[in-house]
Symmetry: C2
Subunit: 192 residues, 2 copies
DNA sequence: GTCTATACCTTGATAGAC
DNA sequence: GTCTATCAAGGTATAGAC
């Protein structure tokens, strides 16, 4: 990425933040332009439409996830630490002024989104789900954790709980997020 | 409620549906008026502002919940059936063209909402949380279900999971909701 | 790449007739 | 209670100068 693309990068960062704090429909080009000290039209130079901006944000998040789970150093970590890594992502959002996760944010906006964004967020959520299901299955076979039922169902239960936690934390206070994480650990009988 | 208030009732019903399908910011008075075959201004007669409409919808949902949990017939039901009743509410939303729950919808919109609506949804979520925590605690003492940790934390884990399920079901398909419900039951070692 | 200027649409809301 | 008419504000987007 050339240094000239600095503005583009800032737009993407801010857009991501706004999507997770306000939702796709509730942020405008003005939120971004005023924050960056530029004008409306400058954003349209980098992203011709709001849809193109949204699509790129989803893509970036997806690529970060894909790169990390396939990274040699990451794949070799103990199951507990890989799970911890996932939870840390949610915790990071919590601490960034109560962002919700991108998937949860776009899921509630889903029926108002352009089709290309709907497809993007579907793919992302499927990948996350598959990855966690495999991780749990491996962990159970190794005996480092324990649970009833199919690993896929357990993965879904955990993911929905994490996504929901970030949302409810806005209403009930951030401590509850940590309580839920504790409970997830308990329910997995996780041994470090 | 007089028969004259039929329009008001329809507005509230449709508004609730729209909030749970599109979110508070993504539905407009036009969505309602065109559906009801009336004009924009007629809605403003019943609800001077969008905020007043949103507030009343939250209030109605809260009252339905409060009335039901304090109803003599309901309080006397077995723990498993009371839990089932809660889950059926979520399932009802799922089947109503993938509504998400009101709390989840307003939680992602939270920072864009009028203060009165923020307060309303905070109160509702606190009441639901307290009720479920007590129910689980009672069930554990009776020995009809079993789990590790505090009943409050377990309640939060289940509620977040249910809320998240309605959202993820839009992306991954409705079957996953039922899987999550199954998993919740498994994790509670619920005995009927 | 960023600006000014502007077109065009949708939104929530109000005034006043019926 | 509902209508017509109208408004101001805010939204996305484009054209063309610099």
């Amino acid at each position: 990425m050339s240094i000239r693309q600095a503005t583009r990068r800032k737009i993407l960062e801010l857009g991501e933040d706004l999507m997770q704090k306000r939702g796709f429909n509730a942020f405008s080009y003005h939120h971004i332009s005023s924050e960056l000290g530029i004008k409306n039209a400058a954003i349209h130079y980098h992203f011709p439409s709001k849809e193109s901006l949204g699509r790129q944000i989803i893509k970036n998040t997806h690529e970060r996830f894909s790169k990390w789970i396939s990274h040699p150093e990451h794949r070799v970590l103990p199951v507990a630490e890989q799970l911890d890594w996932l939870i840390k992502i949610y915790q990071y959002n919590l601490e960034k002024e109560n962002r919700v996760c991108l998937i949860g944010s776009l899921a509630t906006d889903y029926y108002t989104l352009p089709l290309s964004m709907q497809a993007g967020i579907r793919k992302l959520s499927a990948d996350v789900q598959n990855w966690l299901a495999q991780l749990l299955e491996g962990g159970r076979q190794q005996g480092v954790l324990s649970f009833e039922g199919k690993s896929r169902d357990k993965a879904l239960t955990i993911l929905t709980s994490l996504a929901g936690s970030l949302q409810l934390a806005r209403l009930l206070g951030n401590e509850m997020f940590h309580k839920v994480v504790e409970q997830i650990h308990l329910d997995l009988k996780l041994t470090y």
